[in-house]
Amino acid sequence: MSTHPDIGAGRIPAEAIEAGFGDLHPALDRNEARVASERCLFCYDAPCIQACPTGIDIPLFIRQIMTENPQGAAKTILDANIFGGMCARVCPTETLCEEACVRMAEGKPVEIGRLQRYATDALFSAGRQLYRQGAATGARVAVVGAGPAGLSCAHKLATLGHAVDVFEAREKGGGLNEHGIAAYKTTGGFAQKEVAYILEVGGITVHHGKRLGRDITLASLAAEYDAVFLGLGLQAVNALGVDEGGLANIEDAVAFIERLRQTDDLSTLPIGRKVVVVGGGMTAIDAAVQAKKLGAEEVTLVYRRGADAMPASRYEQEVALTNGVVIRHFARPYAVQGEGGALASVLFMRTALEGGKLVDTGETFALPADQLFKAIGQLFLPTDVADESAVLEMDGVKIKVDVECRTSLPKVWAGGDCTRGRDLTVVAVEDGKQAALSIDRALAARLAVAAE
């Protein structure tokens, strides 16, 4: 970053930083897990299962915890969701399984997410590998992107006996688990441990530093492999629509978070005194909260609509508020002002809803800022798949897929953030799994035809 006098590292003691980045939800101990598991009613056709995008048999795994079989519980979880450990940490359960729990009637759902973590932690700390490569089918599949979608697909394919080559642009696997998720949700290097567990199954080769669109083309993959899965995520960001005037210290929130996640000693990471974040989703919240935890004195998150419209859940908003982030609604940035080449303040226009439409009120205000993070949404980067011989049909700004994650090209599947869906880890995992099953069916059908 820059040499702006008000941006510095180690604003607060290293211990305070370390404590701040501790686990958002500490793990349940054995007794807490027992008490929590006993609250589950073992519902019939349980609504929580329906609400889990990966369809984990929640009443079953909770009952397994209750009967002191946490590793069996972990198997129930991982069979449906190989990223069950990460999902236990990052799923917005308040809008997924726990929201659907019938015990919400009492205002307090069964703590599904934390129980899921209890079970998967038990398995990982016992070091038990549950999965094995399936008997070789001879088929070869290329997976692009080693994020939750790509690795979920690769893992399922490997257990079904298909050989998988994964092409990943970055040096580390895990996708946003490694580069995007808030540090306090996945502590202790969990993302890499989980990736290692997934790859341990065998039959998956990851080629790092290989970027589709630069080092390889979709057409060549489709020619060389029996099937291709694209789990590319979102590699571009929306523009703010403000003339940034070349000022230093204006940055995309995802880039800031990626830098943060890849910094070993957070007390060396510079942060401003007055930080402004623009946006209303999970990325905005995470950037704001982590800026605060790094020692920023004032962090203001500005969102153009009201609290109810925020893509970040109520719970996420509360996390921001309890961490001292100030949230201001109904305002959008229209200009930035600098001083000596660095940012000095952000100018906002108040907005209002008129007949369902967002309009400017004409009223303005300025927020002094020495750092601005833009978190107004990520975009799919279509140039990665731009390929003259293999034209992928798009659905708006994302890759078009059907229910089985098939794209418009016969040998190409896609899933996760680069396709329609909720942009959640758990949705990406489900896409990868469903795509793998669909690929498996297609390959089996092809083999059957070949045999005739």
Binding site: V35, L41, C43, Y44, D45, A46, P47
Partner: protein
């Protein structure tokens, strides 16, 4: 305010809540604390002959736990008191002197000879205790030596020892029964024949609490080996209630004073025993789990309930439920109920559906017009109560009696008629088959 005082076979106490013979009543220190806490009386931990018995020094207690580690069942392999007789007798005398208004009953277990019983009774009389309770119930250890339940399981012995005791003491004699028998009425009748003034029941139930699957032995164990113990606590209450009712309604023992024991934790538990004929109750496990303070809840709860119901003294409701305990054959087969689900209270867990669907009568929907909904199908519902039992929301499912309406399952008009099995056309042995005749409502002939 209701009067909680009782007079049990001449033994007076300020309330019916007594501590059962067990560790809480093993010495003056504990009993003093119990009386200060407000207990109406105690049955002192069972005395035996010197030299005192020896207890194991491994774990004596085990338990089954419910949610939140509530103790549901409790188990012990303890024997009778392990303190010298002399010490116990001295303490009993001192405590009774300091607490003259509280019931002081002394539990006894000596070898099955007249001499032994005569000798110990004489010594107990010197303490000025109010009565004795004969421990014919202890199911472990002592029974292997021909005492405890080894006596309680043979009605002839029960009668014989009760008779000796009545001959050799002026004190009231209570016989404590073991539940480890086929028919509880037999030892109760024997006690009555022997002249006993009252019975108390139940003592503990033979049981193994858990098996340690690593050690492959009962849990808890003593140096790798385990033995069955005696179970008590809330889990045994239903059995104890039934046995109490059997004695209360049996012709041979009707009217015999009963001290109810087994799983009593709250005023409600106590009131249930009393409604079935017990005029005092005894508590052990609840005190061992929660301490003596629970008696405060018991006293205020019982008293408040009695005020609400207009009972001014305990005897006003003791035995009130006994006439409504009957044999299956006299239940009204013309009566019918249907489950009814309160849709506002329902949280849609689906347990009622799956219970009925998998294991019973397929009488609850899980889907109505394509949406998750649980409704009773009256054409199928037999009114068995399973759904109401499994529903996690209290009173969400109720059993509503049919009144002057057609039972959609059977097509029969339910009009308040009475017809029991002894009168039913399907019963080849029926005394007087009747069709649909309300006047045939007969009280069971005994």
């Amino acid at each position: 305010m209701a009067d909680l005082s009782v007079d049990f076979v001449g033994i007076k106490a300020p309330n019916p809540f007594w501590l059962a013979s067990a560790p809480p009543t093993d010495k003056a220190y504990n009993v003093e604390r119990a009386f200060r806490a407000g207990w109406g009386g105690v049955v002192w931990k069972t005395l035996g002959e010197d030299p005192p018995i020896v207890n194991v020094s491994g774990p004596r207690y085990g338990a089954i736990h419910g949610p939140d580690r509530r103790v549901i069942g409790f188990n012990n392999i303890e024997l009778i008191t392990d303190r010298p007789l002399e010490v116990n007798l001295r303490e009993i005398k001192e405590v009774k002197r300091r607490w003259p208004d509280r019931a002081m009953v002394v539990s006894l277990m000596v070898p099955c000879t007249e001499e032994s019983w005569k000798a110990i009774l004489a010594r107990v009389e010197e303490t000025e205790a109010d009565g004795v309770e004969l421990n014919f119930g202890c199911p472990h250890g002592m029974s292997e030596r021909g005492m405890g339940s080894a006596v309680g399981q043979v009605p002839e012995y029960v009668e014989m020892v009760a008779r000796w005791c009545k001959q050799h003491t002026r004190m009231p004699v209570i016989v404590k029964l073991t539940p480890n028998v086929g028919d509880i009425r037999k030892p109760a009748e024997a006690a009555k024949r022997g002249g006993a003034d009252a019975v108390s029941l139940i003592n503990t139930v033979n049981s193994i609490m858990h098996v340690d699957l690593d050690a492959m032995s009962p849990w808890p164990h003593t140096d790798g080996k385990g033995t069955h113990g005696g179970m008590c606590g809330p889990a045994v209450k239903p059995m104890a209630l039934n046995m109490t009712a059997e004695i209360a309604r049996s012709e041979a023992t009707r009217g015999m004073p009963i001290s109810g024991i087994g799983g009593i934790e709250t005023w409600k538990d106590a009131a249930e025993f009393m409604a079935l004929g017990a005029s005092t109750v005894q508590v052990c496990t609840a005190a061992m789990v929660y301490g003596f303070k629970i008696v405060e809840e018991m006293k205020s709860g019982l008293s408040d309930w009695m005020d609400q119901k207009g009972y001014s003294r305990v005897s006003d409701f003791v035995g009130r439920a006994v006439p409504n305990v009957t044999d299956w054959q006299y239940l009204n087969l013309d009566y019918a109920v249907k489950a009814q689900i309160d849709q506002d209270a329902c949280i849609e867990c689906g347990r009622c559906h799956i219970a009925c669907e998998d294991t019973s009568h397929q009488a609850i929907t899980n889907m109505v017009d394509g949406v998750r909904k649980f409704e009773v199908i009256e054409e199928e519902c037999v009114g068995c109560n399973l759904c109401a039992v499994v529903c996690p929301v209290e009173n969400c499912i109720t059993m509503v009696p049919l009144e002057n309406e057609v039972d959609k399952r059977t097509g029969r008009m339910v009009d308040g008629s009475y017809r029991n099995w002894t009168q039913h056309p399907n019963n080849p042995m029926a005394k007087q088959p009747v069709a649909y005749d309300t006047d045939a409502a007969l009280e069971p002939a005994e």
